[in-house]
Symmetry: D2
Subunit: 285 residues, 4 copies
């Protein structure tokens, strides 16, 4: 049952978020007879079951909390992790740019702690399919638990396999690589993704990006784009409205490209020697 | 059939994107016997039908193009418009933050040219529902055509109605306002959205944001966040890697909030007088 | 005498910076017989006197440091403070935009801890003059010490006076306000600054900026510009080149304007009703 | 006499800026009997001589202009050019970070169109000295004219010489390279700049920055910093306050470093192998 976003009241089995004053928050599954111990007192699950979402509730010490459904963004940021996770700002842009939606078949590697896996699994719906590769059993185990927490396991296939040996799938709609050396797997990616499909990757350093760009061009990927998504928050005091003092300045560079098929080698060189690459939308003036 | 993202070959009825050198691109529906006239020659639809996606094809003058499925991002940017549209960078973040996914019921106003409508309709899938309000028949007519182009009309309900008179729906999962004066409709929004549901808005000016923040606090919305999504593109020349010279510096401020129910008025004042508002994730250190 | 930037060797009386491994640094004046105690050992001033700048020196425990002349930027960041100070990124842009250079007469209020005062005093040279107003004796006392530390006291005039009563100077070249309510002093500013002179201000919140813009337009200031200077640092590892993880996202909005004299009221209304103000350089396309 | 920033009235020989409605502006020298022809009519110099700065004046067709002293920023942006010039946002930060002020001796290469040369010459004052190298006579000729326009020729020494053969100066306070291959001149830079002096450079691409970082570390430069200065402008309409739609996203990466002298090679390797380099101010959290 789990993360049932279109209910109006909290029920046993639901994934809920309890938010106290001063930003403390807790995401957990509601169970009859359960209790949550906080430094502001105990909250009994039975006091929450049946309450409408958004309701103010209280700990046994009288401290107030709000009972909420966690948003996808909250869940992604709250993902239990032993690796760096992808941020909602990057995930949202990746979903739109790769055209991820209900019914699609997407492949990713590596699984990591599974934050992107969760987002992909949510977006493709029960009719879609996400296949996620990693070589580290302990890490993938955590991702499996994270997917299970959201009740999305029915559509996710985890594989413990080195993608250097190739992906098992062919003709997938989109493929995303969150590994240190994506440039080493371009042949495997081309064999897995359908022609004209959507390829994406996230990389922290410029050196990796330059390496990947070279590999993409050598492997007949076109329409290559590199960008960064920056998120700037504002303080919400209406009399003192201003940006926050500090911000996350860098998570990673996003790289997007599409595998194409050349009939004519002349245009290939014209296309791929082009110093600025090919972009669909002119991102510069 | 329209925009069938998990096919491998172009078929009659498909929405296709043809991309030439130097960034020219065309999005259109493939029809037997059809033809596309470009300044680089005529492309016959029959030459495209049956070809794999990603294939290089040629006009009658021998000029090369690539045959692609448009990405959601491409379609959003290509939306025929008579109003300002929302950009993919903002739409992606809104989808994640409002938790939009398969099966949800979402309300938006105003419809505008329908770029967000398209993204919402795609994300909720065939089991979901998008209701879109506007008061301008000519504008909504264009949005209807834009939704129809993507083959997503089955899940979208267009209404020509002033939202000042209230929304017809109740207990919807998420509601997004892209109107000039969202602050005037807070009561109507609360009556439409379920408690604890997801509210979002996009506004170009700071004055509007400050006005909306005031209205949100007066109407018992909490967990208010204001942010901007900035997108920085890079040139893809591997020997001269650098950011593009110019960028889009501002599209709009995104505002997110959730309607809550207060039992205890004391904590209400503590919550809502709080100068920095309540945020789930500490966006500042 | 103090901060003698064009010497080649450290001498008694010089302001020096000692930088250890792991970013620890110390700025102090060199004195015969003096010593600096650090958690990495004692450094004797006599071991530093006569050494060339840039030299590696050692504490009594053998720990290495570098002997440097502090840059203006280092000194500004190191300013002993009891108020928020202006950052080098903002100060540099203000100096260029107000045309501050040798021989100029500049007025500022409030003095604060004196970081901008130091930069102005350095830039106008021994033939220039900086007059700095504040109403808080304790704060100005600190600024006086900070100016003295740099040996720039000869050109700085500190005044303990409420600028609401007017500035004592007239026809000054440039005037900078770093106070909470600059909009309350527009008449006083016009009486102090010469026509066509340079006005600048820094303000943390949008509300203050909007208030100041209104006051500037009412007081016949034109060529108004509002901007923010953002500084993005990169990690310097050549194999893992990338932006730093976090950055200062906001210090303040910079506002620049120039007092003008209208002969013809018709153009006044045309100028000042103009919704986008007048800018010398088109900062937007 | 030229650019006499502390006068109150326009005089023959002054460099003036005339600004019309709709952003048109003209920078020129005032001469008795002179005239300026604009598409909005002729402005006679004799009508301007003796007027206070900031005054509204009119063309023979009655069109209004303002008579202003150009700011340093205006002059830099208005520099006649046949090469890319440095922007005020970058120049201001360079001046502060290199500690450029009255009396200093600074070396730069290449001269280019001389926008940085003008700023340096202005900042060092009549007691300072700027030596500027270039190998292209036509380009340096333009820079000489640009310096002359500001009346700052007395302190600038232009040299037509390949810096690969070495700089003629030694022990200079600061040295700035605005050339494509600064990494090829590190030995020459060390021979010219005094130990502990200030080195800076601006480079458009990441590839150049990485190359320079490597060369700096090999040549015993420490305290290396790489950053970008971004400038975000706002529209000044008080009822519709918001950032401008587009902005300059990239001019160049600024690199700063200081030549040091190692006594102890152990700490050298510790310092220079350090993956994140040494920074004086912790620019990251």
């Amino acid at each position: 049952m789990s993360w049932n976003l279109h209910s109006t009241h909290a029920q046993a089995g639901d994934l809920v978020e309890l938010v106290g004053l001063r930003h403390s928050h807790f995401i957990f599954r509601l169970e009859q007879g359960g209790k949550l111990e906080t430094h502001r007192g105990i909250v009994y699950h039975d006091d929450l079951i049946g309450k409408p979402w958004g309701m103010q509730v209280f700990s046994h010490l009288g401290n107030p909390f709000f009972l909420l459904q966690p948003s996808l963004g909250d869940l992604l940021l709250d993902t239990p992790r032993i690796t760096q996770i992808m941020y909602p700002k990057d995930i949202g842009f990746v979903l739109v740019n790769l055209g991820i939606g209900p019914g699609q078949h997407v492949v990713e590697a590596g699984t990591g702690s599974g934050s992107l896996t969760c987002a992909l699994a949510f977006a493709v719906g029960s009719g879609g399919r996400v296949t996620s590769y990693d070589t580290r059993p302990d890490i993938q185990k955590l991702a499996i638990a994270n997917i299970d927490r959201l009740g999305l396991s029915d559509r996710v296939y985890f594989k413990l396999k080195d993608i250097g040996e190739g992906f098992d799938e062919t003709n997938v709609d989109a493929l995303f690589l969150d590994v240190q050396n994506p440039f080493d797997y371009m042949e495997q990616v081309r064999a897995c993704i359908k022609p004209g499909g959507f390829f994406g990757s996230i990389l922290p350093t410029v050196n990796q990006v330059i390496h990947l760009l070279t590999a993409l061009k050598q492997n007949n990927f076109a329409f290559i784009e590199v960008c960064e998504v920056l998120l700037r928050y504002y303080r919400t005091d209406v009399n003192h409205f201003r940006p926050t003092d500090r911000m996350v300045a860098h998570t990673g560079f996003l790289v997007f490209a599409r595998p194409v098929i050349f009939v004519n080698e002349d245009t290939r060189s014209e296309l791929l020697d082009d110093s600025s690459g090919i972009v669909l939308q002119s991102s510069d003036e």
